[in-house]
Amino acid sequence: MDNETRLGLYKTMVLSRSFEEAILRDYHADKKPVWDIGAGLIPGEMHLSSGQEPVAAGMCAHLTSNDAITATHRPHHFAIAHGMDLRLLAAEIFGRETGLGKGRGGHMHLFDPSIHFSCSGIIAEGYPPALGIAFAFQRQGKDSVVVAVTGEGAANQGAFHESLNLAALWKLPVVFVIEDNDWAISVPRDASTSIRSNAVRATSYGIRGTRIQDNSVEGVWDAAKTAVERARAGEGPSLIEVHTVRLWGHFEGDAQAYRSDLDSLIDPIPAYANQLESDGVLSREMIGSISQEAKMRVEDAIEFAKSSPLPSATEVDRYVFA
């Protein structure tokens, strides 16, 4: 793996983290003194992906904007790694008319046709539409692929099973990705899943299953390379599970009283920085400047969002029907 690629992975992760740190700040900024989920410039549920950046960065490094992503209720890292315009993303999160969905969607419902990106707040229900996107790519003679994401909790939902079977049966160009962050809200993996590795479940569909055990962005990158190449070559779907980490709460406001693993969490971004530093790919200065540049882009996007107009109440019934 060349240095440029490694640097790219790092930058993607940093950008994603910077974005979420800014959202985190602004999400909580105006909910005090009595914290109210519906108040402030960013109301509603907020599921942040910090800790899971290696999955998105590693996967999306193999994609272009002609490839598609179907993401989850926790979509930012994939949106950013896949190249979503930060301004449009931020504006949607702030509920503005300039957002991707003109403020109608919100952070769980991001649709960006320019990069074939979508997500859904319903567990595992992003998988089935991925089949159709892949089907269309196939019929249109494109070599594009779809990366379909869920969490490990979602892998026990019926849609998971139906989607893997149909994708395998019709040899659709989909890479199914499971982000195993050990938790589905407060329910630990071993209270939801009867086996240790969801990669095993690939067997049920006659496809390849891989588990990356250590939240390593390079491990993801490797597995993704094979899976994406196979899908592009018409060899059908694969399944990749990544053991990753949810650094923060399930959603903002989650006190995480149920969680005993908080002391042992490893943040993958500084860890990767250390690795790249000791490999001579990154210097302290570069770490600073990458972070700086990310922050500038992020703040520009946040600024754009905040200064954008809110949707007009009189237009609330636009876009119900095309």
């Binding site: 859904s120 229900e125 991925a130």
Partner: protein, 345 residues
């Protein structure tokens, strides 16, 4: 409001069953637009359990006419995803009764993506599905359920009652850029193996044509009483109206044809004339179509009504298997006529 369901006999002599009219519509549109494909259970070699796709596999081959596994969530989602990427899927849910295994894909995804995307994404899917009872198929295979789909936003809902509308509404549905649920009653299909109303065979022009979605048809004009209904019940209502005519009661019968959009004007115009309203529905009574139609009048002007509104619908009970019981709850012509006489009394 359109005062015609079908063209006059002189326009077209050719008669088709509703099933054949649907198939012809799909076939002609598929000829025109290569992005259309059809998908569902037993819609290939079998031709659809209720013949909604007969002959299409032979004509278009397995690349465009695809049998699926019994994985409704997966293939409903497949339809949505393909539509988002520019294709125009027609997907069959074999019986509407099965919506419960895939409803999330329908109402939380297919129906909402356009809005959530601020209009940036279109989802032109036709979801066709068989509805209705009358042949002892029991509580899980005899429902209409259009009230559920019409209650939830983002989907158009069309319900043809005859071959002419079946073709025209199918063509309109396929050309529509929105998800359209197309609900066909087994009893109007003209199937050789099921008792059928004579009107399930009717004149259908060969050329493609559209029947606009959202426009009711006055299928019989009358002075005394407005009967608002749809689907198979249209025929029962017409039969009842014939009987009532001989008893001096002159009924106007409105075939809604579409629930979303709902042609409220057509209802109001008719009730303004007759002053009496009977709503007939094979779907469950409460919190459904009959209530909505009553409300349309009550919120416009209750003084239009010379008599209380009457509702004849499937009562709020699971549909019983035994014929004695099932026919005690179906809105048959006899029960419609009886209800009409009560309104006039």
């Amino acid at each position: 409001m359109v005062i015609t369901g079908a063209p006059s006999e002189s326009v077209t002599a050719r008669k088709l069953t509703t099933a054949k009219a649907m198939v012809e519509a799909i076939s002609q549109e598929m000829d025109r637009d290569p992005s259309i494909f059809v998908m569902g259970e037993d819609i290939g070699a079998y031709g659809g359990i209720f013949s909604s796709t007969s002959g299409l596999l032979e004509k278009f081959g397995p690349q465009r006419i695809m049998d699926t596994p019994i994985s409704e969530t997966a293939f409903m989602g497949l339809a949505t995803g393909a539509a988002v990427e520019g294709m125009r899927p027609i997907v069959e849910l074999m019986f509407v009764d099965f919506f419960g295994v895939c409803m999330d894909q329908i109402y939380n995804h297919m129906a909402k993506i356009h809005y959530e995307s601020g209009g940036n994404v279109k989802v032109p899917v036709v979801l066709m599905t068989a509805v209705g009872g009358g042949y002892s198929d029991g509580a899980q295979h005899s429902q209409c359920l259009w009230g559920v789909f019409a209650h939830l936003p983002g989907m158009k809902v069309v319900v043809p009652s005859n071959p002419y509308d079946a073709k025209g509404l199918m063509i309109s549905a396929i050309r529509d850029d929105n998800p359209v649920i197309y609900m066909f009653h087994k009893g109007v299909m003209g199937l050789p193996w099921m008792a059928k109303n004579p009107r399930s065979l009717g004149p259908v022009p060969e050329k493609p044509y559209e029947v606009p979605i959202g426009r009711a048809a006055v299928v019989r004009t009358g002075r005394d009483l407005t009967i608002v209904t749809l689907s198979l019940s249209v025929h029962h209502a017409l039969d009842a109206a014939d009987e009532l005519a001989s008893q001096g009661i002159d009924c106007e019968v409105i075939d809604l044809r579409s629930l979303v959009p709902l042609d409220r004007e057509a209802v109001l115009e008719s009730v303004a004339k007759t002053g009496r309203l009977l709503v007939v529905d094979e779907d469950y009574q409460s919190f459904g179509l009959t209530g909505e139609i009553a409300a349309v009048v009550a919120e416009k002007d209750p003084r239009l009504l010379k008599a209380p509104v009457s509702r004849l619908a499937m009562p709020d009970i699971p549909i019983p298997y035994s014929r004695t019981l099932e026919y005690a709850v179906l809105p048959t012509a006899e029960r419609i006529a009886a209800a009409a006489r009560l309104v006039m009394a």
